[in-house]
Symmetry: C2
Subunit: 145 residues, 2 copies
């Protein structure tokens, strides 16, 4: 097969896959990345432990602190899956005790840019959605819209 440019490869992949179809593997991939913890882990790794900086490697304990409320099981499982998919890399350094860090790969960075928007959308539109729910559930309140 002749070598293709990155743009040609992307165009070909786009033509091959259609996530609307249940039988298409890209729908399973969409299901996997449509996950609250995937979004939060990628967002955390993409903005650093202070949540405002640049992408940088983070230790397990730093991730657990930023993602307040995640269970150790869920965090470990999410990290393993993201590593298998090539979205993040895991590095163990031979210190005492061993230091393990996680870092976004280029592929992970490309997805990070999208899921970060999803997180921001939820934070920015929370009030509006809550108001819509109140109107929807509250019968007569709906007449004021």
């Amino acid at each position: 097969m002749p070598t293709m440019t990155a743009a040609q490869k992307q165009a070909q992949a786009k033509a091959q896959y259609n996530a609307f179809l249940a039988a298409c593997p890209s729908q399973q991939l969409l299901a996997r990345i449509s996950d609250k913890w995937v979004t939060l882990v990628l967002s955390a790794l993409g903005s650093g432990p202070d949540c405002t900086g640049e992408p940088r490697p983070m230790r397990y304990s730093e991730l657990a602190r930023v993602l307040a409320g995640v269970s150790p099981k869920m965090l470990s499982q999410t990290l393993r899956t993201l590593q298998r998919d090539g979205l993040l890399s895991r590095t163990a350094t031979a210190t005492v005790p061993v230091t393990v860090t996680y870092e976004l790969t280029d592929l992970g960075l490309s997805l990070h840019r999208t899921v970060r928007q999803l997180k921001r959308w939820a934070e920015t539109h929370m009030d509006e959605v809550a108001a819509n729910r109140a109107v929807h559930d509250g019968g007569d309140a709906g007449t004021t819209v």
Copy 2:
């Protein structure tokens, strides 16, 4: 309270909500919109029945056809939730039989722009993720990276 501009309201909402925190309602909203069917319904309504056009109202049967493989129960449930959250509107027209159409609201359009990218990411990077999984699962294949 003095009236605020849309930009000021957004800035305030952003300061109030932090989806990293389990106790923050925006994390529940993130969990709700991090859903394969939410992404696919919003993508369908945002690109029309031919999947390439502009946002336009769609009938239930058109949505079911585009989202090949969705169960009627899951589609109805997703539509109800999105309607309650104010992301789409449902219109019943008094024809025989009654015509029911669904259409993105402005709020739904704003989320559509993000979830469409998520769908495209899955379609565009499927090959790359599959290759990463093969390397990860395949032991010695990993040495070629």
